[in-house]
Structure formats: structure tokens, C-alpha cells
């Protein structure tokens, strides 16, 4: 029998991981909601940004927060680049082609990272204290990541809700044809959305690099999980994705402690498959 304190610790760690997953899911969901494309390579962009933060901080000795901001800027830049170079030429083609083009990007980023930086695991060596709360040991890095992720989520919410561009983004995700008639250019909105989605990837990268070491196949660990969270929450549904991130991170974290890491993922994926059949429109949708 497992000591209950480990379960509680796993639950808390799951909660903290959920914050960062939520960020990833929101970025992907925003892009899907507006442009109607799933960026298969989204988490690989995060991987590139993680390398950027790693090199700036560990090799060039930048302060961590400036390095992180640079990572966010790079993320936004990459987001625009992906949209302009890859997505926008194939906007009108079959959905499978769009999916595969970003799949090709996944192969490209993974192997280019292998080529440039080899498969070594790299991590930033900053020592952050561990906090002891009632017999549990919580990493301070995870706590920071959780708080920042929530703040950025709140910022995203305010941006979408209370700015002109944010309103336009929401409008396009509701009806792109009508939006064009209202005098907004969907193509501009697409670029802005990609930049915001990329910047979210940058934020996630800065928060992940202080907890995990980065390697070229980092995206393979978090990618499938992120897609599943988005679908579980309902593709394009922001609140759903937010809730789903915490459900999935709890399942993985607790399952990982009770059985093994792989079984934690297996249970999470099976749960996802079951939920898709129980609620095809996402966990927050009404049953039709």
C-alpha cells in the first residue's frame, strides 16, 4: 500500500504541472479555434524556445528573466514564421495536408535540433529551494511555473476579452466569413493569432526549462498529451482546455506514483479515448 502522503504529493505536483500544460493547450487551442489547423509541431516550437533560454542563460550568462523574455519573443517570431511560410500557402487545401505540413515541421525541428545540439539532455543549473509543507516536498520551480502560468492565462483572457484585436480574434473563431464582411482582414488576424500562440509556447518553454532538461525529443513527450487535452476540452474551447489540463495532469501524476510513468500516460490516454466517446464535443459541452 502506498503511503497517502505520496498520493497527496502527487496530486499537488499534478496540479502544478497542470498550470503549464494549460498554457500549452491554450496556445494550441487558440490557433486551432481561429485558423482551424492543429499544429502537430507546437510542442517542438516549445523545445526550440527551451534551447534558446538554455543557451542564453547557461552559456551566455544572461539573467534568467531576460533570457525568458527573449524566449517568449523568439516563440512569437517562430509562430509568425510557421504561419507565413507553411500554413498560409496551404490554407485552402485538404485538412490532412495541413496536418501533415506541420508534421513535416515536427520531423524537421526534431532532427535539426539533434544535428545542432546532439541528443544530450541539457538543463539550467539554478538552485531553487524545495519547500516542505506538512511532510511533502514541493519544488519551488514548479510553484513559480504554476503561478506564472496562471497569470499569463489571466492575461490572455483579458487580452481576448477587452482589447480590439482580442475581440477580432474571437470573432474570427466564431465565423470567419462574416468577419471578413465586417471589415476585418482574417489574414491579419491569423498572423496575430500565430504570434500570440507562439509567444505562449515561449512562456511555456521558459517555465519548463526550470523544471525539466531539454532534448530534441522533448516534443514527443508532451506533444500527444497537449493535443489530447485540447480535444478533451473541446477543440477551440478555452475554458474546457483549461479544466482538461488539470484532469490529465492529475491522472498522469497520480497514475505515475501508483503504477509507473508509462502506465500513468496509458491511463490518461485511455481516459481520453473513453471521454471522447462519452462527450464528443468536449467535457464542458452539453450532451446532444
Amino acid at each position: 500500500m502506498i503511503d497517502p502522503i505520496f498520493l497527496v504529493e502527487a496530486a499537488v505536483n499534478g496540479l502544478l504541472l497542470g498550470g503549464v500544460l494549460a498554457l500549452l493547450a491554450l496556445g494550441l487551442n487558440l490557433i486551432f479555434g481561429v485558423i482551424d489547423i492543429v499544429w502537430i509541431a507546437y510542442v517542438d516550437l516549445v523545445m526550440i524556445c527551451m534551447y534558446a533560454v538554455y543557451f542564453l542563460v547557461q552559456v551566455y550568462g544572461w539573467p534568467i528573466w531576460i533570457g525568458s523574455l527573449a524566449g517568449v519573443a523568439l516563440g512569437a517570431l517562430l509562430g509568425v514564421g510557421v504561419h507565413v511560410l507553411i500554413i498560409s500557402p496551404i490554407l485552402g487545401t485538404a485538412p490532412m495536408n495541413q496536418l501533415l505540413a506541420t508534421g513535416g515541421l515536427l520531423f524537421f525541428l526534431q532532427s535539426f535540433a539533434t544535428f545542432l545540439w546532439t541528443t544530450d539532455h541539457r538543463s539550467i543549473r539554478i538552485t531553487l529551494p524545495t519547500i516542505e509543507v506538512g511532510g511533502m516536498f514541493l519544488s519551488f520551480a514548479r510553484l513559480i511555473a504554476f503561478v506564472v502560468a496562471l497569470l499569463v492565462t489571466l492575461g490572455l483572457y483579458l487580452f481576448l476579452r477587452h482589447t480590439y484585436v482580442g475581440t477580432a480574434i474571437r470573432a474570427v473563431s466564431q465565423d470567419r466569413d462574416a468577419m471578413a464582411l465586417m471589415g476585418a482582414n482574417p489574414r491579419t488576424i491569423y498572423v496575430v493569432t500565430s504570434a500570440v500562440g507562439g509567444a505562449l509556447a515561449g512562456v511555456a518553454a521558459a517555465l519548463l526549462i526550470i523544471q525539466y532538461s531539454v532534448h530534441p525529443f522533448f516534443g514527443a513527450a508532451f506533444g500527444p498529451l497537449t493535443f489530447m487535452i485540447c480535444v478533451l476540452g473541446g477543440l477551440g474551447n478555452m475554458l474546457g482546455a483549461f479544466v482538461a489540463s488539470f484532469i490529465m495532469s492529475e491522472v498522469i501524476s497520480i497514475g505515475g506514483v501508483v503504477w509507473s510513468t508509462e502506465m500513468g500516460y496509458v491511463i490518461a490516454f485511455v481516459f481520453f479515448i473513453v471521454m471522447i466517446f462519452a462527450r464528443p464535443g468536449g467535457i464542458l459541452s452539453r450532451r446532444v
Partner: protein
């Protein structure tokens, strides 16, 4: 029509004599590449049976892995001949396909959702293989237990020519299935379902039955391809036979070739394998990752500039003048 038959006959005869063409020391290598093309074209063809009707599965690695690992484990631990192992593997795959396809068609899980659900299925199989490492060797993979010599019972042969002819038969079988389906009523029904499920159901097409049928057919053929590959390479690995990586590679090859034509998957697979081999030979082990980098880059470029696939695009260009002449006379 008769001229087409002649061309097909000449091509087949050419393929039959390939193993006896004098190629010096290159023979083993050329045969190895062609065998891989046969097997993966067969698998790509199996995928396209679903893909062309809008069922874009990103989880065919699940069926591939289930097939390959079932026969390999049965042979390694119980000494069951892969012939019987394949039967069991095919049955298991069919069950998995129904388990996936039934709810998907009942609850109208289509488009992006279908792709992502199947992607999850593929990852579940990959992670289960890794998690059960006591049996499966985890991510290190598993070698098919050798019998030391040629054996029909174990499907192990030292001579690549045996696998070449087996691969050729398998490939032709895949084309035959594709052709039969293309000519059948099921094709019209599936196309209608792909266009609009509700409309298809309203004219009396049994949507669930057709979808499950096509998924089971596609999954079973994929599993057979996986078994063939495992027997040929004599080694199974969760990353090369299950999960998102191999699933994406299958889809890439098919989309690159063109999934709406008989030879599309073959052309695409041949090109991607040839490309991978050329890049591997050029870069060797000196620049790790460079070959894959260029591979990924070319895939993006191909998809942007040839959206209907290479074979599809070429055929469109060739056909255009002929159809124009036909409409002029009519």
C-alpha cells in the same frame, strides 16, 4: 485497355527478374531497399483505404505494432509458428479496430477529432509496449528468436530473394484489394459517407457498418504488413512499429504519392524510402540528424507545392489533354 495490360505485364515481368539481374556487390542492398518499398507500400495502401474516405487515421502504428509484437512474442516465448501467430495477431487487430471504429462511427467522431483519437490509440500501444518491458524489452526492442538457417515454419531465410518474392506477392495482393474496393459498391457508399454522413444515412447507407468494415480491413492489412516487416528485419522496436512517428511516416508517403490513385501509395513510399536512403548514404554517420532534417524540409515543400500528391499531379497533367479532346468530340 489492351495496351495497359501489356504495360502491366511488362512491368510485372521486369519485377520478377530483378533478383537475377547481375548487380555485383550491390545486389543485397538493392533487394533490401526494394523489399522495404514493397512492404511499406502495402501498408500505405492499407492506410489509404481509409484515408481516401476522409478517415485520416494518425494511429496506424497501433495496428502495425500489435501485429508485429503479437507474432514475435508468441514465437519467442511459446515457439508458435508465425503463420499461426499471424492469424491470432490479425484477429486481435480486428478486435482493436472494431473497438476504435464502433464508437467513432456511432458518435460521429470525424475529421480532426478522428485523427487525434487514433493518434491517442497509437500512443497507447507504444506506451504499453514500453511499460511491459519484462516481455517486450521496452524501448530497446526485441530480436525475433533465430532458428539458425532457413525455415519455412519460422519464416526465416538467409536469402533475401525469398523475401523479395514474398514482398512482391504481398504488394500485388494489396493492389488487388485496393482495385476490388475501387470497383465495388462499398466505394460509392464510403464516398457518400465521407462527403456527408447524415445525407448518406438518409439514402439508406448503413454508415456504422461501412465505417467499421473499412477500418477492420485497413487495420488487418496494416497488421499483416507489420508482421511481414518484423519477419524480414527480425527485430521489433516500439518506436519504429508503433506510436506517432511511424504513423506519420505512413501517411506522409501516401499523401506524397497521392491517396486517390492505385499506384499513389507505392510511388510515395518508393520516393520517401529512396530519399531516406540517399540522404543516409550521403551523410552517413558524420552528421547525425542532417538526413532527417532534409527529409522533413522536403516533406513540407512537397505538401505545399504538390497538394494532390506526385503521382496524382503527374496523372492530372497527362490526362488533361485527353479529357479535353473527349469533350470536344462529344
Amino acid at each position: 485497355m489492351s495496351s495497359r495490360r501489356v504495360i502491366v505485364g511488362v512491368l510485372l515481368a521486369g519485377l520478377l527478374v530483378v533478383p537475377f539481374v547481375p548487380m555485383g556487390g550491390m545486389r543485397q542492398y538493392v533487394l533490401h531497399v526494394v523489399i522495404q518499398i514493397f512492404i511499406w507500400s502495402f501498408i500505405g495502401g492499407a492506410w489509404s483505404l481509409m484515408g481516401r474516405f476522409g478517415l485520416g487515421s494518425l494511429g496506424h502504428g497501433a495496428f502495425l505494432g500489435l501485429g508485429a509484437y503479437t507474432t514475435t512474442l508468441l514465437w519467442n516465448f511459446f515457439g508458435l509458428t508465425p503463420w499461426l501467430g499471424a492469424v491470432i495477431a490479425v484477429l486481435l487487430t480486428a478486435v482493436l479496430a472494431v473497438v476504435v471504429a464502433y464508437p467513432c462511427s456511432r458518435f460521429a467522431v470525424i475529421g480532426h477529432y478522428f485523427s487525434l483519437v487514433t493518434l491517442a490509440v497509437g500512443e497507447v500501444v507504444r506506451l504499453l509496449i514500453i511499460a511491459e518491458r519484462d516481455w517486450t524489452g521496452g524501448s530497446l526492442g526485441l530480436t525475433v528468436r533465430p532458428v539458425g538457417g532457413d525455415s519455412l515454419v519460422a519464416i526465416q531465410f538467409a536469402d533475401k530473394r525469398v523475401f523479395y518474392y514474398a514482398g512482391l506477392v504481398l504488394w500485388a495482393l494489396g493492389l488487388w484489394v485496393w482495385h476490388r474496393l475501387d470497383r465495388s459498391m462499398a466505394r460509392s457508399a464510403m464516398e457518400a459517407i465521407g462527403e456527408d454522413e447524415t445525407a448518406a444515412a438518409s439514402v439508406g447507407i448503413h454508415v456504422t457498418r461501412f465505417k467499421i468494415g473499412i477500418t477492420v480491413l485497413s487495420a488487418v492489412l496494416t497488421a499483416i504488413g507489420g508482421i511481414a516487416y518484423a519477419q524480414y528485419i527480425a527485430y521489433v522496436n516500439p518506436d519504429t512499429l508503433a506510436g506517432i512517428g511511424v504513423s506519420l511516416r505512413i501517411v506522409f508517403a501516401v499523401v506524397l504519392g497521392g491517396m486517390y490513385s492505385l499506384l499513389g501509395p507505392t510511388v510515395g513510399t518508393a520516393l520517401t524510402i529512396a530519399l531516406a536512403e540517399v540522404l543516409r548514404v550521403v551523410f552517413g554517420v558524420s552528421y547525425v540528424g542532417m538526413a532527417e532534417t532534409i527529409y522533413g524540409l522536403l516533406l513540407i515543400v512537397f505538401i505545399i507545392f504538390l497538394p494532390s500528391g506526385i503521382y496524382g499531379s503527374v496523372r492530372d497533367v497527362l490526362r488533361r489533354p485527353r479529357t479535353a479532346a473527349a469533350t470536344a468530340t462529344a
